[in-house]
């Protein structure tokens, strides 16, 4: 019996102790009519050898294309040490550190994580992770409503330059409450939030403004102006940031005169493999004054009976297991293991290493853009300062080109047509430090070939 250690004699002894004749008797409180008869659609079991062979086969089907897609999930180098540590049983197979004395490893790691995230974002406090970047944005909107006592409107402004999936998640996760989400226009030529359009809302009751930096197109927003404008309206500023970029970009805690109020993002670039979209982790940081409005676990340093320093979950009165229907969120299980990966990644990279990564990504993307825009029919979408992604405009639909690239073992980027039809044929590309000049040349050559064969619009 896979994973069940019982032997026949043991089962008999146990049944005798309980005082029943067979295991089925233990289910006698379940109405007979409800009992499962069989599970036809579950295949027969496999042993580990068989299942590994099956999975290797499935993995082989997917292959290892050269990847130029970013759009919220970025292929970075991950030090081998990171996953060899976090897959240690003591981290991998423990749970939420409810018993602090038996969980100092996890608790101290979370405290260190909180320290690093606050350092990176320039904020005062951070939690121990949210599910992912998108849900962290949604939670930050709900939090903003609680935190912004001056605002009655529950109006949240989100720029159209925020990741479309994130906007969709915010929509889905806040629509049952009284929040009013309002999409803000972007300037067509620049790809950044339209400050003029915003200005027209001046003086109204606004609860929060969500600013993504770099935005979905990889472009840098004028965060100081946006932040100050929002504060002037009495709105809370929610910053959505890429943690890698923070090595080079001004931390949200320093945006404008007062800094952002809530900072969220997806921690994936910090040590989490692409892995089809997860598990990643969302991070969230804020001002000390808002800490009691923050969702998620928080670890504090304290002392034990002997005065020795130690770590424990704190401010649990915000959480569902104490506050139930009045909790800041329903989140319970979070993304602890990935947060650990992020912690070890940040410890190994340090500020300088992260700077190097960020700079390398920018350089590789610049090189990619240069190589691809040399091809006829391809030009750069937006000219502004950017981080490590770029929009390319094409003279024909992008989808068939991507198909041709995929056939050549290249994942060429994200076709923006479904999300931004107003841009016409447009492709979002990304090259991280993992892409070599040879990779870029391979891409350019394959795209050149595709352009030559795939019919122009």
């Amino acid at each position: 019996m896979p994973f069940i250690p019982h032997t026949g004699p043991e089962v008999q002894q146990m049944l005798a102790t309980i005082g029943v004749s067979d295991i089925d008797a233990l289910f006698d409180e379940i109405p007979e009519t409800l009992r499962v008869r069989s599970l036809e659609r579950i295949p027969e079991g496999m042993n580990e050898q068989q299942v590994m062979q099956l999975m290797q086969e499935r993995a082989r089907q997917d292959g290892r294309p050269i990847n130029f897609i970013g759009a919220g999930a970025y292929e970075h180098h991950i030090p081998s040490a990171v996953w060899s540590i976090i897959t240690r049983g003591e981290f991998y197979s423990a749970y939420t550190p409810y018993q602090a004395e038996a969980s100092q490893g996890t608790l101290q790691s979370i405290y260190e994580f909180q320290s690093m995230i606050t350092a990176l974002t320039g904020m005062e406090v951070a939690n121990a992770s949210m599910y992912d970047g998108a849900t962290a944005v949604a939670e930050s909107c709900l939090m903003a409503v609680r935190a912004n006592r001056r605002s009655q409107s529950s109006r949240i402004l989100l720029s159209r330059s925020v990741h479309p999936h994130y906007r969709a998640v915010v929509q889905a996760m806040t629509s049952n409450q009284s929040l009013k989400l309002e999409e803000q226009a972007i300037v067509r030529e620049r790809g950044t939030t339209d400050a003029a359009a915003l200005a027209s809302l001046a003086g109204q009751d606004l609860t929060a403004l969500v600013i993504q930096q770099p935005n979905f197109f990889g472009l840098l927003e004028d965060v100081d102006a946006l932040c100050d404008w929002a504060h002037a309206q009495g709105a809370v500023v929610i910053a959505v940031v890429n943690p890698t970029s923070l090595a080079l970009l001004k931390p949200p805690g320093q945006w404008g005169a007062r800094g952002a109020d809530i900072v969220v993002g997806d921690g994936q670039p910090l040590g989490c493999p692409l892995s089809s979209g997860g598990p990643y982790f969302g991070f969230m940081a804020t001002r000390q004054e808002y800490v009691r409005q923050m969702p998620g676990r928080i670890v504090g340093r304290t002392v034990d009976l002997d005065g020795r320093p130690g770590f424990t979950l704190t401010l649990q009165a915000r959480e569902q297991h104490i506050r139930r229907g009045k909790a800041t969120s329903n989140i319970c299980t979070n993304q602890g293991l990935l947060m650990m990966a992020g912690t070890i990644y940040m410890a190994m990279m340090g500020a300088v290493g992260l700077e190097r990564v960020a700079a390398a990504c920018m350089a590789r993307t610049a090189e990619l853009v240069a190589a691809l825009t040399r091809l006829p029919g391809v030009r750069l979408g937006f000219n502004g300062a950017r981080f490590h992604e770029a929009v390319l405009q094409f003279d024909r639909p992008v989808a068939p080109l991507l198909d041709a690239l995929a056939a050549a073992g290249i994942e060429g980027g994200l076709d923006l047509a479904p999300w931004y039809p107003e841009l016409g044929p447009a492709l979002l590309v990304c090259a991280t430090e993992m892409r070599s000049s040879a990779d870029i040349a391979t891409y350019a050559a394959a795209l050149g070939k595709a352009l030559a064969t795939v019919r122009a619009a």
Partner: protein
């Protein structure tokens, strides 16, 4: 290891200029083109340590944890069973780790076929008609489920239904979810036998009832015997039934939520399907629905078509699912966790599924009986234990001044993780104990021996319990101080 178990902060190993250099890309020749106003001025106060410093520090920290891989971990409601290493190995095959969530169909068939089959298997094992895999934990699944219930009523123009009924013993996520979904949680009482008070339920339902959230077996560790009646009452009142799948392990392969009358369910794959809990997560909280809610499932969902005789898998998204409650994750959720659950289910197979429920229940009832024989008071002695059961230390608190928390802390000294304490809040001084099916009789017997010893100590040397643990890296921590004098980040970091 040396018994000097405290470990400095990673920052204490740091030193300006130190670093794990071989992890760093080469410096770029040209400085990155960032407008001055948008540039970072001061480096973030991240640690500056060598690779060895970091590796050693986190390896040592890991040793301070209890975990399934090192200790029996009978944390009730959490199903801390063995996480097979094969699941991890398979999910970490390089092709899976390297697959971008937005990769083309061409580079996705292997992964998608696993996800499709996982959806199918989860439907079968729960008796539901459709499954969506996105939710990233139980509570996230609950959100999806209640959001679907709301959307269902709304779609029918039944706009007043904003009450979610929860039994008093419900997990905190249930009422919290109701609130997140813009509903009001309404508690119904539980009878002395642990079942929902049917009279109270009848009184609670009405035109305002959106639905009821139940876990069965309940958090009291007993099977809700009148479940069919409960379903009837709620359905008759126009509400829907939500199944909190946290306790699915107890009945896996024995009875299916769909057959009990539930309309929507989330599964805690990190419990029932044995993916790692990772010191807090990740989890995966796939949702399953009956026919009424099928069109409302969150996106994306994998579908299978046959093209030129070959199966082809693809995502259904917003375009394909116009009535969907929408998107709940940046991509498709915790794919790597889902792969682990898939592998686990394939290893167990059809016969293995029902053995989970059977042996989890056997272990639980055995422990339930033995601990009562050892002098502990069961909260529901007259009932069958499901996969877990509750002891109450109320007698000990009254007679000896020793609390459930004291017993829990002292257990750590014996090398056992404590059971869940003070949940469900309904039962005073409770310990919620869930052994799971992957623990052997010897381990259970050793646990009984430790519990018995603790009980003896409670009578003879209660002070030992009150100041426990004594053999851990730290003694009991000051939670009050932690909340009052908040120290949530290492200082230099705050300056960042």
């Amino acid at each position: 290891m040396s018994l000097d178990l405290c470990e400095a902060l990673i920052y204490d190993y740091g030193c300006p200029g130190r670093g794990a250099h071989s992890q760093w890309p080469a410096a770029e020749a040209a400085p990155p083109a960032i407008p001055a106003a948008l540039k970072r001025k001061q480096r973030a106060a991240l640690p500056e340590v060598s690779e060895l410093d970091a590796l050693r520090h986190y390896t040592r920290l890991s040793q301070l944890n209890f975990s399934i891989d090192t200790h029996f971990y009978p944390l009730g409601s959490c199903t801390m069973k063995y996480n097979p290493r094969a699941c991890n190995a398979a999910a970490m095959l390089p092709e899976f780790l390297g697959r971008h969530p937005l990769a083309s169909a061409r580079h996705s068939q292997g992964f998608l076929s696993c996800m499709y089959e996982l959806q199918e298997m989860l439907q079968e094992v729960t008796g539901m008609q459709g499954v969506a895999l996105t939710p990233m934990a139980g509570a996230h699944g609950e959100f999806a489920g209640v959001a679907m219930i709301r959307a269902y009523h709304r779609a029918r123009g039944d706009l007043k239904r904003n009450e979610i009924i929860v039994p008093a013993a419900a997990h905190g996520t249930n009422p919290a979810t109701a609130t997140m979904c813009g509903c009001v949680a309404r508690e119904v009482a539980v009878g002395a036998d642990g079942d929902v008070d049917i009279q109270a339920l009848r009184a609670a339902v009405g035109p305002q009832t959106a639905g009821i959230m139940l876990t069965n077996p309940s958090t009291l560790g007993v099977f809700e015997r009148r479940i069919e009646e409960v379903a009837q009452i709620v359905h008759d009142a126009g509400g829907l039934l939500y199944y909190d799948g946290a306790n699915l392990n107890a009945i896996l392969g024995k009875v299916r939520p769909g057959d009990m009358g539930f309309d929507v369910i989330h599964m805690n794959l990190h419990k029932t399907f044995s993916t790692p809990h990772g010191g807090g997560g990740p989890g995966a909280g796939a949702v399953g629905v009956g026919p009424r809610l099928l069109p409302l499932l969150p996106q994306p969902i994998v579908t299978r078509t046959v093209e030129e005789g070959q199966p082809h898998y693809r995502w259904l998204d917003a375009h394909d699912l116009p009535l969907s409650i929408g998107r709940l994750a940046g991509f498709m959720g915790n794919a790597g966790v889902l792969l682990r659950a898939y592998v686990y289910m394939r290893m167990l197979g059809r016969a293995g599924m029902s053995r989970v429920g059977e042996f989890a229940t056997l272990n639980s009832n055995y422990l339930h009986k033995r601990l009562q024989q050892a002098g502990f008071t069961a909260a529901y002695p007259q009932r069958r234990a499901s996969h877990e059961f509750i002891l109450t230390l109320k007698p000990q608190l009254q007679e000896l001044g020793v609390s459930a928390m004291d017993v829990a802390k002292r257990l750590l000294d014996f090398g056992f993780h404590a059971p869940t304490t003070y949940f469900p809040q309904l039962v005073p001084e409770c310990l919620l104990i869930e052994p799971t099916e992957t623990e052997s009789k010897e381990t259970l017997d050793a646990f009984v021996a430790a519990m018995s010893e603790v009980l003896r100590e409670a009578a003879s040397t209660p002070e030992v319990l009150r100041t426990a643990p004594h053999r851990m890296p730290v003694r009991r921590l000051d939670d009050v101080r932690a909340a009052r004098e908040l120290d949530l980040a290492h200082r230099p970091a705050v300056l960042g």
